[in-house]
Symmetry: C2
Subunit: 340 residues, 2 copies
């Protein structure tokens, strides 16, 4: 052990597409890599103990907490979080609520993670709404897109808070100095946009602590030209899902086209390796999960189909978040706003 | 000449990235292909006559109308349309207004086309707003995405009209029987969405003349599973531009990756042909332009970088639209609504 602050992370092992196995493997590697971290795995105790039995690891730093219920994506999120008290998701969130853990990771139902984060962990002081903020791949460095959560029909002041939280996150976790922020718009001139954008634009311009660079049209998003891309949740949701869907469709069409003849199949073998490299850049797994910002503890949603790599990245991300006190910095940043 | 209705189309030859040359070539081929069509080219008379001098064509069916001014994308659209009376764009739109022409095509400033369509040509009877409705490429047949225009902050009743206009367009121009309509949403359950979607959803469900199939998440858009994709203009704009931007970025990254080594360059030669086929499917040029629906005449916006192929397609599209009386069918369809 070094003299770093100890960080405890609760991980929900149920609800991901790849079962508890990938979570256990990720947890074992995660604590190896981060020697100040202890992981609390919530789920079916016997199964978890059997899976853990296959590894050599520091037994003091992986704890199993039994949970008998499961929340699936077929459950109504708010209802499920309220009634399934012994689900792996709720048990893990309660470990953050009662202070046992600093952070939470889940590959389960997005709706339940968002609802549980708000209702169980709770908003930090001064926070109006809590945005879900995934990093999205670009041809440059990844950008933070927020809000992709459930705060539809948000007000301008809420978007301004999101811009602050996103900037603080990018500065502290991704090391971007004075990160640039742009608002998603249908043109780049200041007078363009819908009512929400037009009202939010001057508020952002007036904030000295936000490096606001104006509007961004969605066609520029994949270039990675700004650090923080700000939009309300409906549009954020459309962007993140179209990113995913269009990427998948284009790549599968290209793959099909390459397998269409003997000649092109030969070609496909030769281009496979560099193409794979490009594709892995456009997959988010090496970047951890999407944090739900502005809560009393950190809640991270990883993809439903996450494998061990994404679990390890999310553990690193949670550790950085806690060690660098990003929560404290967010509360401090937002308090300046109310003092303005 | 056959006994088909004669169709006159005004084409703005200024404002596209590729100059008047591609428009002239497209017009010559367009009237060859559509023997009932006459084209009115607006722009610099001398230049157009010189360009036309290089072709053999039916001189009665291509007319040149002089216009001395130019509208660029740097002009404020509404202002430009009002003050540049002798611009190629305004002169062409006036040919539709005064009944000389049935339809208008331009590769110029989108904003000016939208503004000019509304102010000069004018809305048809019963139309609340006029949506811009491009066909978007998918892995199946193309889908119609509307609204991608300038009607931000639209009301639910406006979206219902858009759904009707889009259905009539797809049935008559693309030959889709009883076309399916879905509304862009952040989940597929009926209770999901922002205030606008929640209000619009039951209205669409209640329309017997709309084949409404519920919500569509943006990740499903590229699959082509529905004929008409309905959303308000801000979101439509984000979708169409992200489609364009992400496609471009991914393809250029893949291209770069293939040129990264000698081995992969060899492979690239072998896969070039089938890949090109895939890419051309995902480019919109063979599908004409985006119609602005609900006007007294047809206004079609083609891409700024359109080449002769897109001009020819747009001429065919305008001809079909007029011959099949899609405007009349839209007015009839909307009048049923007010009678309900």
């Amino acid at each position: 052990m070094n003299d770093k602050k100890k960080v405890n992370i609760a991980i929900d092992t149920i609800g991901g597409d790849n079962g508890a196995e990938v979570v256990v493997r990720g947890a074992v590697k995660g604590i190896e890599e981060n020697d100040n971290v202890t992981v609390y795995l919530t789920g079916h105790k016997k199964e978890l103990e059997t899976l853990l039995g296959e590894y050599k690891y520091d037994k003091d730093r992986i704890k199993v907490v039994d949970a008998t219920e499961e929340i699936t994506c077929h459950d109504a999120p708010v209802e499920a979080v309220r009634t399934k008290k012994d689900s792996s998701l709720v048990v893990a969130l309660n470990l953050v609520k009662d202070g046992t853990c600093d952070a939470f990771i889940s590959a389960g139902s997005s709706g339940a993670v968002l609802a549980g984060g708000q209702f169980i962990v709770g908003r930090a002081k001064g926070v109006r709404r809590t945005p879900l903020a995934p990093l999205i791949p670009t041809s440059g460095k990844p950008s933070l897109l927020l809000d992709c959560g459930a705060n539809v029909d948000a007000r301008p002041e809420v978007l301004v808070q999101f811009a602050r939280m996103g900037s603080i996150y990018m500065e502290n976790i991704e090391g971007r100095k004075n990160p640039t922020v742009a608002i998603v718009n249908i043109g780049t001139e200041e007078e363009k946009g819908n009512a929400l954008v037009k009202e939010t634009f001057p508020l952002l311009k007036a904030c000295k602590d936000i490096n606001f660079v104006g509007s961004i049209e969605s066609r520029e998003i994949p270039t990675g030209k700004v650090d923080v891309i700000l939009t309300e949740a409906f549009v954020g949701n459309v962007i993140i899902k179209l990113y995913e869907g269009l990427g998948k469709t284009l790549l599968s069409e290209i793959k099909d086209s390459m397998l269409s003849s003997f000649k092109s199949k030969m070609g496909a073998l030769l281009v496979k390796k560099p193409m794979k490299k490009t594709l892995s850049k456009f997959s988010a797994s090496n970047k951890g999960g999407a944090p739900l910002l502005g809560l009393k503890g950190l809640v991270v949603k990883i993809h439903g189909n996450a494998k061990e790599g994404e679990v390890i990245s999310a553990i690193r991300q949670c550790n950085d978040f806690v060690i660098r006190d990003v929560s404290g910095k967010i509360i401090e940043g937002l308090s300046k706003e109310s003092a303005e």
